[in-house]
């Protein structure tokens, strides 16, 4: 029966993905720990290994972000994603996002600031939003000169979160083409920024509520005059 066969193939594919990612995740965890160990043993501040550690950690996190993106999109495509919406303190969530990068930012001499009321709460799937924000922050860390600003505030349309940097901003063609990521045939999806935006929009769509839709926008300027990644989460 061809139908049963197709189902089996799909199941096997999902299991293969799960197994492989389980293993990759374990390896990444061990790698991160090792990198931290090396880093901690360089007690001389000027030790050349330190910047290598920072670079390695950055790459490991990128692998992880991409893995998360890939797995989530795979599940969304298969109609298999279980949304897990709970109430979260936004400040707490953003603090945690930045904590994850604390060592790395220390190494690279990047400072950050979070502008968000401490009693702001929102309803969202924390793991999905961690994927979205991890992606945005990782990108900002790559292009910033030495500062990041994360802002969050509630509005009638939803929660606005922005990640700003003081680098030279997104290139003009990217800003012009940013709407294209929703059309796979445009080719914009073929670059990593396009995939990141596509992923972000998918996550925001899952959070649709009361006929409110989320959106993601890239622009330049803002308080730090660099690139700015903004989302609206219903």
């Amino acid at each position: 029966m061809p139908e049963t066969q197709a189902v089996n193939e799909k199941l096997d594919m999902a299991t293969a993905f799960a197994m492989a990612s389980h293993d990759i995740k374990n390896s990444l965890g061990v790698l991160l720990k090792d990198i931290n160990n090396i880093n901690e043993r360089c007690d001389v501040g000027s030790c050349v290994m330190r910047s290598h550690c920072a670079d390695m950690e950055y790459e490991v996190r990128r692998i992880n972000n991409n893995l998360v993106k890939m797995l989530t999109l795979f599940k969304l495509g298969a109609g298999d994603y279980l949304l897990n919406v709970d109430a979260h303190s936004v400040r707490d969530f953003l603090d945690e996002m930045m904590l994850e990068q604390a060592v790395l930012m220390g190494q690279k001499g990047i400072g950050y600031e979070i502008a968000c009321e401490p009693d702001l709460y929102w309803y969202f799937d924390r793991n999905l939003m961690t994927g979205v924000m991890g992606n945005a922050i990782s990108n900002a860390l790559r292009y910033t000169r030495d500062r990041l600003l994360i802002t969050a505030e509630a509005s009638v349309e939803g929660l606005k979160i922005a990640v700003e940097d003081n680098g030279s901003g997104f290139p003009a063609f990217m800003l012009e083409q940013q709407a294209e990521f929703l059309r796979p045939e445009s080719g914009f999806l073929n670059n990593n920024t396009g995939l990141g935006l596509y992923f972000t929009q998918q996550v925001l769509d899952l959070h649709q509520h009361d006929a409110l839709h989320g959106r993601v926008v890239l622009d330049n300027g803002g308080a730090l005059s660099g690139g700015r990644f903004s989302i609206l989460l219903p």
């Binding site: 995740k25 374990n26 990444l28 965890g29 992880n64 897990n84 303190s89 603090d95 904590l99 961690t130």
Partner: protein, 548 residues
């Protein structure tokens, strides 16, 4: 700013010192890693376990504040099963924290569970700073829930519901947790209107699937089958991983008499999530009802297999499977299964007695001359030692088997226990009467029923006499002595509680009475959460305490 951070670190350090931690991971490097993260902030009391079985043993023997558990634990129980059993058996209260660690985001087995969810669900690789940050937040949020655990430990669900409202506070995540708990407790106490209001308010905020699920349960419990079916079907349509919803939809189909569809739905869900013993047994029962012996055999085999590592295992699936084996001529398998069962239930007297009886019965059926005396002596010994802990169904089954083995005296001494626990309950008396009639003992049945009734009613009369003469304390003593003999007798327990409450109303709270009341009511509520009288007395008792 820096000083503030330092203070924060100090505060969490102090709180980590007091807490007890359990780390469960099958990968020793990960256990070491988590342990290192926790000790770096001053945690000292850390236990580590490498599999689900050892973890459950740890949880049963000591209290933990925080459990960090990998979902994937190799052979045996997985992390979700550890969580469900620990919460189900009351080893982990609402104030304790359970972190599930998973490799991939969005584990259907974890997120599909609408009833038992971990407090946090973290994805590998887990960074030390993030873990500690998340832990500090959760501990702060959950600390206030200790009072609810205390109320629930005393069986005081009414107080727990009040506390759910009182403890909400400004943390939205905690309020949501408490609202969910409030809904569940209200359903437990049949306060459907209150539960419905809770869920409807929540659904106006977001479309939480567990709130929809709650509304579906209420509809079914009220007998609104069509509405319940609509809600459950919509939830499954929304996501086919919500396995608990299938179980409830099956209940709807059974109530509607559509046993064929109920069976096929259960087959679908056991395929999706095979590890639940309760669900496999439900499938076995339905398949037997539908005369689908192959499916029944398969389901009971699965129940036995997964029951090796589950607190939900019972002798019932062994007996059902053994019967199926016997009827299909698989004698060797049947004997092996019953022998395995004796090993499995060596520490569970109720199930053990059932298995011993089945073993004796099947042996006798195979060979009329086989020696079953030693087995039956064992049954007798266990019955004597555990007669008060056994469930009524166990007792009736055992009595029926004793009759089949021509052990009439033994059967009737068991039935006497059932009657003594229910001397004024027509339904149980009728069940005993029918069982005895089925074995041609109708005359003896009437005699037995009369004798038990006479004995207990006499005690009742003597108490009333004592009460009318003002001998309140003497009456309480007589009642409590009788209850010690027949602890399952609800009428006597309630009578005694009422008398003690009356005494305390007049003379102030007496510690030993108060303790005895709580204990008795908690026992009744454990058997039947919906016991209205028990709940009502519990409320009176609580009021008694708050009054000066």
């Amino acid at each position: 700013m820096f000083l503030q951070q330092l203070m924060q670190v100090k505060r969490t350090r102090c709180c980590h010192k007091k807490n007890r931690y359990l780390i469960i991971d099958d990968f020793d490097q990960m256990r070491v890693s988590f342990k290192g993260m926790l000790s770096s902030v001053g945690a000292r009391d850390i236990v580590t376990q490498g599999n689900g079985e050892a973890a459950i043993r740890s949880l049963a023997s000591e209290k933990f504040d925080v459990v960090i558990c990998d979902y994937n634990l190799g052979e045996g129980r997985d992390g979700q099963q550890v969580l469900e059993e620990a919460r189900h058996l009351g080893f982990l209260g609402h104030a304790s924290t359970f972190f599930m660690i998973t490799a991939v985001s969005n584990m259907p087995m974890v997120l599909g569970a609408l009833e038992y969810q971990p407090d946090e669900y973290m994805i590998k690789p887990v960074n030390r700073e993030v873990l500690l940050h998340r832990l500090a937040g959760t501990l702060k949020r959950k600390r206030q829930l200790t009072v609810i655990d205390e109320a629930l430990a005393q069986g005081d669900k009414l107080r727990a519901i009040e506390l759910c409202v009182e403890q909400r506070g400004s943390d939205l995540k905690r309020s949501l947790y408490l609202a969910k708990l409030q809904g569940e407790l209200c359903i437990d106490l049949s306060r459907y209107e209150q539960a419905q209001r809770v869920y409807e308010t929540l659904l106006r905020i977001r479309n939480f699937p567990w709130a929809q699920f709650g509304l579906g349960k209420i509809a079914l419990l009220r007998g609104e089958l069509a509405e319940a079916r609509r809600i459950f079907e919509a939830l499954i349509e929304q996501n086919h991983h919500y396995v608990e919803v299938y179980d409830w939809l099956v209940k709807v189909l059974e109530a509607e008499g559509d046993f064929a569809r109920a069976q096929s739905l259960l087959m679908q869900v056991t395929h999706l999530s095979p590890k639940s013993v309760v669900r496999q047994c439900a499938l076995g029962r339905l398949a037997l009802r539908n005369d689908d012996l192959a499916v029944a055999e398969h389901a009971y085999q699965a129940a036995v297999r997964w029951g090796k590592h589950s607190c939900h295992a019972s002798a019932d699936e062994y007996r059902q499977l053994a019967t199926l084996y016997r009827d299909s001529g698989q004698t060797a398998r049947m004997l092996r299964l019953l022998a395995d069962g004796r090993k499995r239930f060596s520490h569970q007297p109720g199930d053990m007695i059932q298995l011993l009886c089945s073993q004796a019965l099947f042996k006798r059926q195979l060979d009329g001359n086989s020696d079953i005396d030693s087995t039956l002596r064992e049954v007798e010994r266990m019955l004597e030692a555990h007669k008060h802990e056994l469930l009524e169904d166990h007792l009736l089954n055992t009595a029926s088997e004793c009759y089949q083995l021509s052990r009439v005296e033994m059967a009737e001494s068991i039935l006497r226990i059932v009657l003594c626990n229910h001397h004024d309950d027509g339904e149980w008396i009728e069940r005993v009467r029918q069982l005895m009639q089925a074995h041609d003992r109708q005359l003896n049945a009437e005699q037995l029923i009369r004798s038990v009734k006479g004995e207990l009613e006499e005690i009742h009369c003597r108490c009333n006499e004592l009460l009318s003469q003002g001998g309140l304390e003497k009456a309480v003593k007589l009642l409590n002595d009788t209850i010690d003999l027949y602890p399952g007798n609800r009428t006597l327990v309630l009578f005694s509680v009422a008398t003690m409450i009356d005494f305390m109303r007049e003379h102030g709270v007496e510690q030993s009475y108060h303790f005895r009341c709580r204990h008795s009511l908690a026992n009744l509520l454990e058997r039947d959460q919906l016991d209205r009288d028990a709940n009502c007395y519990l409320e009176q008792l609580t009021q008694l305490l708050v009054q000066p």
